[in-house]
Structures are given as structure tokens and as C-alpha cells.
């Protein structure tokens, strides 16, 4: 497609100071951060702020309601729900951001290569990505975790693999539109290597759509990670994990609803916050101006 060189460069570029200003002034992003940052802070501080060891059992106090010795109550083994929700947040955020980071690490180079090389390389890489994407997300995650031991790192890896093709496709699309730009031609003329052109010339100019896609993926990654944990393929007990807490709590719903409510609320807020941030970034960076999204 034909585009005005200067316009395209400006719109797809990541002109830091103005972008930062736009990001900070976006209300969706602000609200998302206002929700997410406290959750993340508490999760990072973890044991420091948790009132109890999240794995310590107090069987005599099981099914305790909110208030009293245990602020949010206890689960079926008398474990403090507040402490488990706090530490469970660490697991969920690690899943969300870790898996997205992995997806970016894998997907961006593939997308850059496909979009820049075009031809058979593009066809081969994108058809492989299409094959992976043709398998339902949760099913693919399940398949990977059936083969690998279910621990937090493997869950991160599974979700990262699942989302890498989506990142690759967005990256390729953006790359296609900038790979014919004059500054890329100039780099080629200077005899620069392909890796240099990909990562120094093209990548900085396709960062916008990648950031937007990545931010959206964080929320999805948390959801799929929680779903896998719900199905028993997460970190595994006794580690606190929202998905597994919700799964276990179902069996005890008639004893105490709080066991189910707190991790569900925490999950809801976290995913809502990441989605708000993702939507806000999309507004600010407006990837539609990047051009071809075929």
C-alpha cells in the first residue's frame, strides 16, 4: 500500500515524550493502573504484608467468615484467605506478564522476519502460526500441560506458546507496512545486516501495535492461566493460586461462600484493570493508523 513516508513514520513510531503524556492522561489507563498497581504492589510484597503464612493450616478455624482473627475468613483447611489471595495474585500476575513476555519474545522476531523477508519465508512462518492458532487456546494449553509437568513455569510457557502466533501476526502486519520505507531502504543500501535492520530500523517503528497487542494479551493470559489452574493444571497445592482456589471452593460453597468470593473478586479486578489499560493504550497508540492489518 502506498503511504506518505513521513506520516507513516510518525504514526507508527514511538515518540516517547508525547506518548507518555497521552498515556498518563488517558482515563482508562489511569483507572486500570489505579486498580492494578495496588494489587501488584501487594502481590510483590507478598509475605511481607500477608498476615499469615498462606500455606499454614488452622483446621480448628476452618470455614471462618470474614472478620475476627482472619480478616477475609479461612478456607477448608483453616488457611487465611487474605494471605492466600495476596500470594495468589503473585501467581496470576506472573502468569499474565510472564506468558505475555514469552509470547513477545517468540512472536516478535517471527513476525519481523516474516514481514521483512516476505515470500516463502513469510508463507512458511505464517502458516505455522495459523496451524497453532487453529487449535482453541485453552485446548492447546491443556495439551501442552498434559505432556509437561504442571508447574508455574510450564504454565507460563504453555500460555506463551499459545499467544506467540497472535503477537507474530500483529508484528508481521506492522512490519509489512514499514519494510518498504526509505529509511529501511537506506539501511539496506548501507549494507546493514538483516538483524540490524529488523531490530534497529523496523522494530522501533512497529512498537505501538505490539505494545497494544501485548497489553491486551496480559488479561487473556491471566484468564487462561486461571482456567488451567481451575482445571488442576496450575501451580498445584499448597501454593496459593486464584484459579485453583476457585476450583476448590466450589466443593465447599455450602460451607462458606467467602472461599469462592475473594479470589473471584481479585481475579475480576485484575483482568478488568489489564483490559482497561489495554483499551487505553489502543486509544493512545491507535494501531489502525499503522496501516495493513490483513
Amino acid at each position: 500500500m502506498a503511504t506518505d513516508t513521513s506520516t507513516s513514520t510518525e504514526s507508527t513510531g514511538f515518540d516517547l515524550p508525547p506518548i507518555v503524556g497521552k498515556v498518563l492522561s488517558n482515563r482508562r489507563i489511569g483507572l486500570g493502573l489505579a486498580i492494578l498497581l495496588p494489587i501488584a504492589l501487594v502481590a510483590i510484597l507478598g509475605e511481607t504484608v500477608a498476615p499469615y503464612d498462606p500455606t499454614a493450616t488452622h483446621v480448628a478455624d476452618r470455614y471462618a467468615g470474614p472478620g475476627g482473627q482472619f480478616l477475609l475468613g479461612t478456607d477448608h483447611l483453616g488457611r487465611d484467605l487474605l494471605s492466600r489471595v495476596i500470594l495468589g495474585g503473585r501467581t496470576s500476575l506472573l502468569l499474565g506478564f510472564g506468558a505475555t513476555a514469552l509470547a513477545l519474545l517468540v512472536g516478535v522476531p517471527i513476525g519481523l522476519t516474516a514481514g521483512y523477508a516476505k515470500g516463502r519465508v513469510d508463507e512458511l512462518l505464517m502458516r505455522i502460526m495459523d496451524i497453532i492458532m487453529s487449535v482453541p487456546t485453552l485446548l492447546l494449553g491443556l495439551l501442552i500441560l498434559v505432556v509437561l509437568p504442571s508447574n508455574i513455569l510450564n504454565v507460563v510457557m504453555a500460555i506463551g506458546v499459545v499467544y506467540a502466533p497472535r503477537i507474530a501476526r500483529v508484528t508481521r502486519s506492522a512490519t509489512l507496512s514499514v519494510s518498504e520505507e526509505e529509511y529501511v531502504m537506506a539501511a539496506k543500501a548501507r549494507g546493514e545486516s538483516s538483524p540490524y535492520i529488523l531490530f534497529r530500523e523496523i522494530l522501533p517503528n512497529v512498537t505501538g501495535p505490539i505494545v497494544v497487542e501485548g497489553s491486551v494479551r496480559v488479561g487473556y493470559a491471566i484468564m487462561i492461566g486461571t482456567s488451567l489452574s481451575f482445571l488442576g493444571l496450575g501451580a498445584g497445592p499448597p501454593n496459593p493460586d486464584w484459579g485453583f482456589m476457585i476450583s476448590t471452593a466450589r466443593d465447599h460453597i455450602y460451607q462458606t461462600p467467602w472461599f469462592l468470593i475473594w479470589p473471584s473478586v481479585a481475579l475480576l479486578l485484575t483482568v478488568m484493570a489489564t483490559n482497561l489499560i489495554g483499551d487505553g493504550l489502543r486509544d493512545v497508540l491507535d494501531p489502525r493508523e499503522v496501516g495493513d492489518h490483513s
Binding site: 500455606t55 493450616t57 483446621v59 476452618r62 483447611l77 483453616g78 497445592p237 499448597p238 466443593d251
Partner: protein
């Protein structure tokens, strides 16, 4: 709605048997429910099984009494936890056994009081030392899907040969100790045992590792035909099989065992086995009337069940011992094993998993068993709560005064209680400096890769069956094929040998109790608890009850009057 709470014991030798999944027997979660009463009016009588009784102190409404009459007809819909992967009566998991018993028969059977009664054999006799048993077969029993072909001694012999052949990959534990089975004539077979067995007729009434009789022609043609077709002689005949949703059976109108009204069992026309894997879903289905009874449920939904149906409870013979493999460090050190027993807080585990259950010994014989050693206190030597100081002292003597880091502790997802036990066990051991990670496995992975393997420690699970001595026989004596802990104790083996060869109940009881004492004090099993099991039924269902055994079913003796 009312609730009933039973504390039934299983009588006489009652070799309890391990039910251990796929090729080893079933593996399960809670108990079983079924229907009682009815019975039959066959005159055949067994001998050598004296004293086989259920002692029940049920404080219930009396529905466990045999009724004078029961309604006939209708469809009985059971909410089942599991479906089946095969219709073969010889292998599989819990549901396979329950349904296998509905479709197939053995030479003998037990009634709801766990007394031996005739089945395919109309009567029998044993020689003086109980090593040779002669069974006279019924002549009027026809196989399903075999064009009216009747069962003969040749079918019994063929079934025995199949179950004891190398080609058979499952467990035929009820035939353990059988030396040979020979055909005397078309309606008579003779079984020779390796050693005396007072309770042989009860052993072959077992459902797990069962000696079901199938047509010789099918075995000769292709035993795989049993996988999807019902060739049984049982009270129910397979109609439709949807692996994911439901299984439907129709009544065998010519069944040879009669109900209280003198007509063939079952009382209902049709049984629907609706597969509802989720506890809450089963409770809700019972509540809305889409099922008539739920054969397994958990204490967590007991309140939901009792809102709209009769809740039944039964003290079970299920047990979930922690197996300490004695061939690996540091579990090869008896002091470490004893330290673990001292560090265990069994009361805490019981309260968390099954507050209405009971504690037993670390012996492998459960309190529902007649030979349970009442002389041995539950808290003998090790107590029922943690003795941290004593545990640390023993660990220090064993050279682990500064703490002990163990290999990963495994449990499987086939029994939800195991996850709770594992987490509490981890916390309790931490108090005495024993640290380890816990790891959940799928039931299939545990059975194939970890169960009875070298160098592992994990939670296993056993159920009491009709007979009682099979756990010691298979899993506790030195030469036992399922000796998971690789534990060897000469005194225990000697007591086992005495129990096995005993020709009087007194002698057998004494030896069985001695075995329990030795295993409790010296063994490599860490006992946890015996759960209460729960079920429920609508008020129009009659003769429904729970039993302490796990895979014994009396569904064909239920009646519905909708």
C-alpha cells in the same frame, strides 16, 4: 428429610482387598450405595462360612429391614460419579465393577448382610480340611446375547482358565490360592486350593478381582467381545451405552434369583446410570428429581441432599495410608518411620476430611472388619495427635537432628481426600523438621508410574471388601505382590501364615490380631482415617442403603414407586 447413619461391620474372614485401579482392581473415592432387602428363596446352603454377619447399630428408620413386599416396575435413575470404559466384567475402575456385578454372576454371592448365598452354584460342599470344594451348578441359567445358551461347567472352567492365563492382564484376586478347577460333569465343578480356606465361598463372591462366569464360546472366539457386549447372566441386561452421559439396562425377566414376592429380581423394569461427575451437580439433580438416588456424594453437599431426599451415612472400610518405602533412604531407617508416625496428627486430618469418620490403627485392617484388633488402642504407642518432641528425638537419634529434606511426596487426583491429606501431612511434618514438596498426579499416572514402584512415597488407598485378609496377603506380607512399602517382618509373616492356614475362627482371629499389632507398631504404613460415606435417595425409592465395602452393589434389589 430424614437421615440414616449406619455403623456396619463386615464379618468373618472377609479378606479385604485393595482396589487399585485399572489392572489391579478399582480405585475409588468414597463408598458405595446400593439396595438391600429382597433376597432370594433358594434353598441351597453353603458351609464353612459360619458366623458371617453384619453387625449394625443403625439408629435409622428401619428401612434396612427386609420388607414383606416391594413395588415392581418403573425406571430407577441413579446419579453416578463415573462412567465406564469397558463392559468387560474383569477389569476397570469402580463403576466397571458395580456394573459388572449387575450384568454378570459368580458361583456364590453375598446378601445384604454379607452372608454367603447360592448364585450360579445352587449348593456346594467342602472336604474336611477345606482344601477341596465341589459346586453343583444351576441348570436353568441362560447367557444374554447367546441365543438362549445355558451356563454349564464348561463355561465355569473356561472362565477360570481365562482369568488365570497369561493372556489376562487384570487381577483375579478372588481366585488367589486356587490350585485348580476341574469339570466333574456338566453341572459340577471341583476346586482344589493350595491351603485350607474356611471362607472360600465368600472369597469368590467378591466383586473386585471377581470370578465372573462368561460364555466359553465368547472366550474361545474373542475375549475382546466382552468389551462392548453384555454376555452375562445377571439381573440387568445392557441396552444402551453412552460413555459420556448414561448407560441403560433392562431387567432380566428370567433372572434366577427371586425377590421377596417370589418373582425374579430386579423389581424395576429399567435402570438408568446417569453420569454426573460433579458432586454439586449430583446433589442438585437429586434435589430436582432428575435422578432417584445418588450413590456417592461428599459431606460438603450432605445438607443439600438432605433438603430434598433421605441422606444415608455409613462408616466405611476405606483407608488412605501413607506408604513409606523401606528400601530408600531415609525411610529405610525404622526410627525415621516411627518419627513420622509420632509427628502425624491424625485427629486433625480426620476433622478436615471426614469429621464423622473414625480413626483406626496403622495396621491396614479397618474397624469395620470383624477381626479388627479392639484390644489395641487406636492411639497405641504413637497417639492420635502429634508428639513433636518424641518425633524430633527419634529423628535426632537417626542422625537428622538438624532437619530432613525428603524427596517429593506424591498423591493422585482419583481420590479428592488425598489432596487434603497431603497438604496437612506436609504441614505436620514441617513441625518436626521434615520438609518436602507435594505433587499431584493423575490417577492413571500414579498407577502406571509410581504405585508399587521403587523409591517412592505416596498416599495409597484401599477398601474393605467382603473378605478381610487380602490386604495383608497382597500388600503387607514380605512376598505380597502389592507390597508397596517393600516391608519385611518375620513375625508378621509368621502370624499371616497362621491366619491363612487356621481351621478355626478363634485361631484365625488371634493370628489376624497379632498381625495388626505388629504392623501398627513396626510397619511401614502410616494410617490416617476411615471416612464416613454418604448417599441419598428420594422418598419413593425403597431398599436403598450404603455398605462399608466399596465395590459391592445391591442396586438390583432396589425398588421405585414413583
Amino acid at each position: 428429610m430424614p437421615s440414616r447413619d449406619s455403623h456396619t461391620t463386615v464379618g468373618t474372614d472377609r479378606r479385604s482387598v485393595l482396589k487399585l485401579g485399572a489392572t489391579l482392581g478399582t480405585l475409588g473415592i468414597t463408598g458405595l450405595a446400593g439396595c438391600m432387602g429382597g433376597g432370594d428363596d433358594n434353598e441351597g446352603s453353603g458351609n464353612g462360612d459360619g458366623g458371617d454377619t453384619i453387625e449394625s447399630d443403625d439408629s435409622n428408620d428401619g428401612t434396612e429391614e427386609s420388607p414383606d413386599s416391594l413395588p415392581r416396575g418403573g425406571t430407577f435413575v441413579v446419579g453416578a460419579q463415573q462412567g465406564v470404559q469397558t463392559m468387560s466384567p474383569f477389569r476397570g475402575f469402580l463403576a466397571d465393577y458395580l456394573l459388572g456385578e449387575a450384568m454378570y454372576d459368580r458361583l456364590t454371592r453375598v446378601n445384604q448382610s454379607f452372608e454367603v448365598e447360592p448364585n450360579l452354584a445352587k449348593d456346594w460342599e467342602a472336604n474336611d480340611d477345606y482344601t477341596v470344594w465341589t459346586f453343583n451348578l444351576r441348570e436353568d441359567v441362560a447367557f444374554n446375547n447367546m441365543d438362549g445358551q445355558t451356563m454349564t461347567a464348561a463355561d465355569v472352567k473356561a472362565s477360570y482358565d481365562f482369568l488365570t492365563s497369561e493372556a489376562f492382564s487384570g487381577s483375579a484376586s478372588s481366585l488367589s490360592g486356587v490350585n485348580s478347577l476341574s469339570v466333574v460333569d456338566e453341572t459340577t465343578v471341583e476346586v482344589a486350593l493350595d491351603e485350607p480356606d474356611l471362607n472360600f465361598t465368600k472369597r469368590i463372591a467378591e466383586t473386585g478381582g471377581a470370578f465372573f462366569v462368561v460364555p466359553k464360546a465368547v472366550l474361545d472366539d474373542d475375549p475382546a467381545k466382552l468389551e462392548d457386549t453384555d454376555y452375562g447372566t445377571g439381573p440387568l441386561q445392557l441396552e444402551t451405552w453412552n460413555q459420556k452421559n448414561d448407560i441403560t439396562f433392562s431387567a432380566n425377566s428370567d433372572y434366577h434369583i427371586e425377590g421377596v414376592d417370589g418373582e425374579p429380581l430386579p423389581y424395576f423394569d429399567e435402570l438408568k446410570w446417569n453420569i454426573l461427575s460433579d458432586n454439586i451437580q449430583r446433589a442438585n439433580s437429586l434435589s430436582d428429581g432428575s435422578i432417584d438416588a445418588v450413590s456417592r456424594t461428599s459431606p460438603n453437599v450432605a445438607g443439600r441432599v438432605s433438603d430434598s431426599a433421605t441422606l444415608v451415612k455409613q462408616t466405611s472400610g476405606l483407608q488412605y495410608p501413607i506408604v513409606l518405602n523401606t528400601t530408600v533412604e531415609p525411610l529405610d531407617d525404622p526410627k525415621v518411620r516411627k518419627a513420622i508416625k509420632y509427628a502425624l496428627d491424625r485427629e486433625q486430618i480426620l476433622k478436615a476430611v471426614s469429621p464423622e469418620g473414625v480413626l483406626g490403627h496403622h495396621s491396614g485392617v479397618t474397624p469395620v472388619h470383624t477381626y479388627y484388633n479392639d484390644d489395641l488402642e487406636v492411639g497405641d504407642t504413637f497417639g492420635t495427635t502429634a508428639n513433636v518432641e518424641k518425633a524430633k528425638e527419634l529423628l535426632s537419634e537417626a542422625g537428622y537432628g538438624d532437619g530432613l529434606e525428603m524427596q517429593t511426596f506424591h498423591y493422585d487426583d482419583g481420590v479428592p481426600s488425598k489432596e487434603v491429606i497431603a497438604q496437612l501431612f506436609q504441614q505436620q511434618m514441617k513441625q518436626v523438621g521434615i520438609e518436602f514438596e507435594i505433587n499431584r498426579l493423575t490417577e492413571e499416572t500414579w498407577l502406571s508410574d509410581y504405585w508399587n514402584a521403587e523409591g517412592e512415597w505416596y498416599i495409597t488407598n484401599y477398601s474393605t471388601r467382603v473378605l478381610g485378609s487380602t490386604v495383608p496377603q497382597l500388600a503387607l506380607r514380605s512376598e505380597g505382590p502389592w507390597n508397596e512399602a517393600k516391608w519385611s517382618n518375620d513375625a508378621f509373616d509368621e502370624a499371616f501364615a497362621r491366619a491363612t492356614s487356621a481351621t478355626s475362627e478363634e485361631e484365625k482371629a488371634e493370628a489376624m490380631k497379632e498381625m495388626q499389632r505388629i504392623n501398627h507398631q513396626e510397619g511401614a504404613w502410616v494410617g490416617t482415617f476411615h471416612p464416613k460415606i454418604y448417599g441419598g435417595y428420594k422418598d419413593y425409592v425403597q431398599n436403598y442403603d450404603l455398605y462399608p465395602t466399596y465395590i459391592k452393589d445391591f442396586l438390583s434389589e432396589c425398588a421405585v414407586d414413583k
